[in-house]
Symmetry: C2
Subunit: 347 residues, 2 copies
DNA sequence: CTGAAAGCGCTTACAG
DNA sequence: CTGAAAGCGCTTACAG
């Protein structure tokens, strides 16, 4: 008879399920044997396995992952840090991301934070000894980056940049995206260009604008108007449109920093000012969220290669977990232009 | 000098942060003292506290929540189980829910499952010894419900029903919602009614339809057409509209089981068939997702009292965690009709 | 293949 | 207020 001394008899606190000790006692094997049955790859005789499994089933035993994590030093949990998100793009991101992670045997702990709380929230994530962290719509302060480096937790920035030497990055090539839009507008004969910015401080906004403006200039044009929505929302798009379209001479081509803004601009132009789109005004967005394809908008937009972004993020994360000392990865994924009817076609 | 024998000297594995033992040794106190400093409400002298805090800071010590969970038997994690969600309503739910939970000191572990995987995924959640579970867009099989009952994990169903005696429920009163729509249509003089169903097997769909049809009958009317979109999406709405609106004599009032379907129906009617909305056809949805208010749709809809639903869920959850033997709660929240221009006004 | 033992990093009576 | 000790439920060398 094996020893299994720790617990007094069959106690097992009322509110808790059975433990390995309970199973071991009833099955007449050691606690280690029970552990092995539930550890893939461990060597157990068929007889032991059967007996343990049967007792475990009878007792409703389930391994306590928390205890396992404590000794194995791995939780199989990934922290996904998102900022207050109104954007369907990020809802989708969470959706696909959690699913893809689950396929790899990982679970997702969501940290939903205001930008300012990052400094507090992230250390919390660390306390849970997550196996990795994905940061979305948030940038890492150098202090935090350092703390992460010290904790040796792999961090992947999603659609954000940083070049601190140990933070991995997976992002859409926003500069290239901005250039696609400039080319599309110019190729189809537009010549009064406007840009409606989203979050001024975000790298996504900066890069999209930079790509757009620089390509305009390369091809001998320039930006006529610049308006700021201030955030990536439909409502902000409406308001920006109101300001932008009260100009005496209107632009004939507007690039909006994301789709939601673009939809706000379209609706304001169409329903408040009776402007014909695309006859009088072409509008292009960024993201290709589902509603961009809706008949009421049919928005020309720069599609973020969603699946690729998520897949790359998972892959980078898995690589980093496997080899924490591997090289710092920086994956830039090319976007594509999806031409729909909110912008004039090539002439 | 305290003992702290377990560890050999200052080892602390290379890949890990400092532990209480490391801090204790350097601060010249016992490990228990360090623990007390990080346990709110424990009694520690000011001097000890200062010394420990200073050393902890110097070493970058952070409590290991996993270890704490193992002994305290509480993870401060809530499992949120969602089904593959395309609906912005649920994206919003996750958003608000995670935030509200964080305010209570809980974190959210997201389980994103296909309906069929529920049987596998939920036991996983249990293995993480989460403090509670919220189930969204999924129903609990009796086998699972029993397993949960045995695990003594509080479970709250969000917008789903079950009456098994131990599962809490927080839901919008979908039947009342359906009645609101019937009344609105009848009061404004419509008389050929159609219903476009979403997911046939969901209790939300069943109740909304039931409320709608029963109120029609109460007031001497009946349903003229019933079409099924089969799922709660825009695309399904388009297809359902195509089938529904090829009838020789059209309905003049369509109730769609949710907003996304309604938008699909509006777009199909308007852009493919040139039907005037609301002059020729009134359409009402359900949810009041953000895009329902967009100028291009301006959808009359039944607003789910979002904040109340989330608040109630959190509250029920907290109550159940505090008193696992408390009564089983069943909170039904009344929806309201938001009148916009996709439906004719009272005559 | 299997058991005894150590240990993961904590909390919490217990005794002072 | 404080330390010594037990224990949470596991995994994993170690020795057979």
């Amino acid at each position: 008879m094996p020893s299994n001394r720790r617990r007094k008899s069959t106690s097992s606190k009322a509110t808790q399920g059975a433990s390995q000790i309970d199973v071991a006692e009833l099955a007449g094997v050691s606690q280690a044997a029970v552990s092995r049955v539930f550890t893939p790859g461990s060597s157990v005789s068929d007889e032991t396995r059967q007996r343990v499994l049967s007792v475990a089933n009878q007792l409703g035993y389930r391994p306590n992952v928390i205890a396992r994590s404590l000794v194995s030093n791995s939780t199989n949990i990934i922290a996904l840090v998102v900022k207050r998100f109104t954007n369907p793009f990020y809802a989708h991101m969470i959706q696909d991301f959690t699913r893809a992670l689950q396929e790899q045997g990982y679970w997702t702990l969501v940290f939903n934070i205001a930008e300012d709380d990052l400094e507090e929230a992230l250390p919390m994530a660390l306390q849970y000894r997550v196996d990795g962290v994905v940061l979305t719509s948030a940038t890492l302060s150098s202090k935090l980056a350092e703390e992460f480096a010290r904790s040796r937790n792999p961090v992947v920035l999603f659609n954000r940049y940083v070049d601190d030497g140990h933070t991995h990055v997976v992002s859409c090539d926003n500069i290239a995206g901005g250039k696609l839009v400039a080319d599309a507008f110019i190729d189809s004969g537009h010549n009064r260009f406007a840009f409606v910015a989203g979050e001024e401080l975000s790298s996504t906004n900066r890069d999209r604008e930079h790509g757009f403006v620089s390509r305009l200039q390369e091809r001998g044009h320039q930006l006529t108007y610049r308006e700021s929505a201030g955030e990536y929302s439909y409502e902000a798009g409406l308001i920006a449109a109101e300001r932008l379209l009260k100009q005496k001479s209107l632009p004939d081509a507007i690039f909006c920093a994301n789709d939601l803004i673009a939809m706000g601009v379209i609706d304001y132009a169409r329903h408040k000012l009776n402007i014909k789109i695309p006859d009088d005004l072409s509008i292009i967005g960024f993201d290709d969220i589902p509603s961009a394809a809706w008949l009421g908008y049919d928005l020309t937009t720069v599609r973020q290669p969603f699946g690729k972004l998520v897949d790359n993020t998972i892959q980078v994360l898995m690589d980093a977990i496997e080899d924490p000392n591997g090289e710092v990865l920086n994956r830039l994924v090319k976007p594509t232009l999806i031409a729909r009817s909110s912008s004039r076609k090539m002439e």
